[in-house]
């Protein structure tokens, strides 16, 4: 899984790299506006968002699908000065910006901040509209890749990305296979009112923070075997899942607030929302987190109850789960959800094995 990069800096830094960084720093410091400059990628928690997660491009997407690429690009260029409407990742991005402001107040010289990068397959001519839209909302996005059709995976690595959000599940799957935490975003059916002062992130446990080893047992041997297994192996930590490193990165930033006595006022709050039950299978999860040195602010054990109503109360800016069944439940009650296409859960829907279509050659 992707290594957390908030550790000691690499011993040798290329001279050219330092020159570029120094020049960029000078550029931003010399700007007349108070625009905050982007952090050094090596130290930052980098979140890459696609254009369709950041903005609502449903209408434009339809033009692309119905009329083809050339008409789509022409349409975008004609409407270049009309800002796009916010998309699913928009509240999440605003919450990240708020955390950055708080971090800058407490640690004015630190590069340990969120770095938001726009990672899109779009053609650069469409990019002008995207830049105009970012300007319109004054989002802190200074880095981007407009690949004109090429896969973003290499560029995700070049930016040392900690989390990638996209509408395209193929790209997300590819990213996860390459060790980058990633999820496919879904808009909610309704809009819950979200906190403007605190970033709230909810995670499912199995196959998201943890590996899918236990889920395999449930699917293949049933719940009773699962309970027995978890009790027997209570003290053996689970293996890590694709989003573990992202939780770790959030934890590192949280500790910076705690170090300045801001625990009660911390602008980051994390939630575990799991179908496990506290009585039987929950202990292993908490012990695993402890063995990793990670904290989660609230752990909610549903013992199989639906997640939607609870999430509606928590109001996270984003909720990660590996099962579409839970994503749909969350969406229905207004929670912005992100599907993590990982593990055995992908082969099942509502407990039944999905028939796989014959593989196309």
């Amino acid at each position: 899984m992707s290594e957390i990069k908030l550790t000691k800096s690499a011993p040798t830094e290329d001279n050219g790299e330092e020159k570029d960084w120094a020049a960029a720093k000078a550029f931003f410091d010399n700007l007349k506006t108070n625009k905050p400059r982007p952090p050094k990628p090596r130290y930052a928690v980098t979140i890459a968002v696609s254009s369709r997660t950041l903005f609502n491009m449903v209408k434009e997407r339809k033009i692309y699908q119905d009329e083809g690429l050339e008409k789509y690009v022409a349409y975008q260029m004609e409407h270049e000065n009309e800002p796009l409407m916010p998309g699913a990742a928009f509240p999440f991005v605003q919450a990240l910006m708020n955390v950055n402001s708080r971090l800058r107040e407490l640690y004015p010289d630190s590069e340990e901040l969120f770095d938001i990068v726009l990672m899109t397959n779009n053609h650069a001519q469409v990019g002008v509209r995207l830049i105009n839209s970012i300007n319109h909302y004054d989002l802190s996005i200074e880095r981007f890749c407009m690949t004109g059709g090429e896969s973003p995976i290499g560029y995700l690595k070049a930016y040392m990305t900690n989390l990638y959000l996209s509408k395209d599940s193929d790209k997300v799957t590819e990213a996860i296979a390459e060790g980058i935490a990633a999820a496919t975003m879904f808009t909610a059916d309704t809009e819950n009112e979200l906190s403007k002062t605190q970033l709230r992130v909810a995670f499912d446990g199995d196959a998201v923070l943890f590996s899918d080893e236990s889920e395999i047992i449930v699917k293949q041997h049933g719940l009773d075997t699962f309970f027995e297994h978890e009790k027997e192996f209570e003290n053996k930590p689970l293996a890590q899942g694709p989003l573990k490193c992202f939780l770790e990165a959030l934890g590192k930033l949280q500790r910076k607030f705690i170090a300045k006595n801001e625990r009660l006022n911390c602008p980051i709050r994390t939630f575990l929302v799991t179908a496990r039950s506290a009585a039987s299978s929950g202990a292993r999860v908490l012990k695993t987190l402890r063995s990793w040195g990670l904290e989660i602010d609230e752990a909610l054990f549903l013992a199989g109850a639906p997640k939607g109503p609870l999430l509606e109360k928590i109001k996270p800016h984003i909720f990660f789960d590996d099962q579409m069944f839970h994503i749909e439940g969350a969406q229905e009650l207004g929670t912005i959800s992100a599907h993590v296409p990982y593990g055995i859960g992908q082969k099942y829907h509502k407990g039944k094995l999905i028939e796989q279509p014959p593989k196309k050659e």
Partner: protein, 256 residues
């Protein structure tokens, strides 16, 4: 002394419309690595020439009467190679390279050969050679030493230079740069968005999104429609250059 030989195997291009690209034979052929039959190895610029050729082929497919084509001139200054001028020509034939003219000159006179041949772009692997030519008003760029594609010509514009304000009146080299860019832009328009044999890439290393946005619009106003854009804002550029694999970089400071 400068001498120019036309390659009779290749159809000569329209002098008014063609985009003349000069490359040194040192960059195209690896004269050190020869086997018995006087065949040279391929040099760093080899994929570039193949990519230029592919653009020409596709241009002619779109319009058999097209005159806006790449016109490649091979410059040889190495006196050793000059003596083997026939080998250079035979190797060109061997590899089927679309080189219109061969120029032989001394080290001191090579810029003269660029000027007499109305070169629009001079590509070299030698930084000082490129700087010298640029100083005399010939638009020059450094060839990317890393392996580049022969399938698609990838040209990288360094955005930080594109938007730098012209403090003095435009130099001859700046005019040449803009003229070449406009020609490239016009060539790009001959193809659709997908499957183009030519891709125009913009990278801004230092400024933020506004710098990149301005560079995109500036290039557009000069007739250059950028395909891919990357705004680094201080992030290390070498991982990106490895992924982007351009054949050459334009408007670069010729530093780094």
């Amino acid at each position: 002394m400068v001498s120019t030989i036309q390659n009779t195997d290749v159809k000569q291009k329209d002098a008014d419309r063609a985009v003349v690209v000069a490359v040194t034979s040192r960059a195209v052929f690896d004269c050190g690595a020869e086997d018995g039959d006087d065949v040279y190895g391929v040099g760093v610029a080899f994929p570039l020439l193949q990519a230029l050729q592919r653009v020409n082929e596709r241009l002619l497919e779109e319009n058999p009467a097209e005159s806006l084509l790449f016109d490649v001139v091979l410059i040889t200054t190495d006196s050793q190679q000059q003596q083997q001028s026939s080998r250079i020509i035979s190797n060109t034939r061997h590899y089927g390279l679309e080189i219109s003219r061969f120029c032989f000159s001394s080290e001191e006179d090579f810029i003269e050969s660029l000027l007499t041949n109305h070169v629009d772009l001079f590509l070299s692997t030698d930084r000082s050679e490129a700087a010298q030519a640029s100083h005399k008003g010939v638009f020059s760029a450094l060839l990317n030493r890393k392996v580049a594609s022969s399938e698609q010509l990838r040209v990288l514009f360094c955005g930080d230079a594109v938007i730098r304000p012209d403090t003095d009146s435009p130099s001859a080299s700046q005019d040449a740069a803009q003229s070449f860019s406009a020609q490239l832009g016009e060539m790009r328009q001959r193809f659709g968005l997908l499957h183009s044999p030519l891709s125009i890439v913009l990278v801004t290393s230092r400024g933020g999104r506004e710098s990149c946005g301005t560079a995109l619009r500036t290039l557009r106003s000069r007739g250059v429609s950028v395909d891919e854009a990357y705004c680094l804002a201080g992030a290390p550029r070498s991982p990106f250059l490895s992924l982007l694999r351009p054949h050459f970089l334009l408007n670069n400071d010729l530093e780094d």
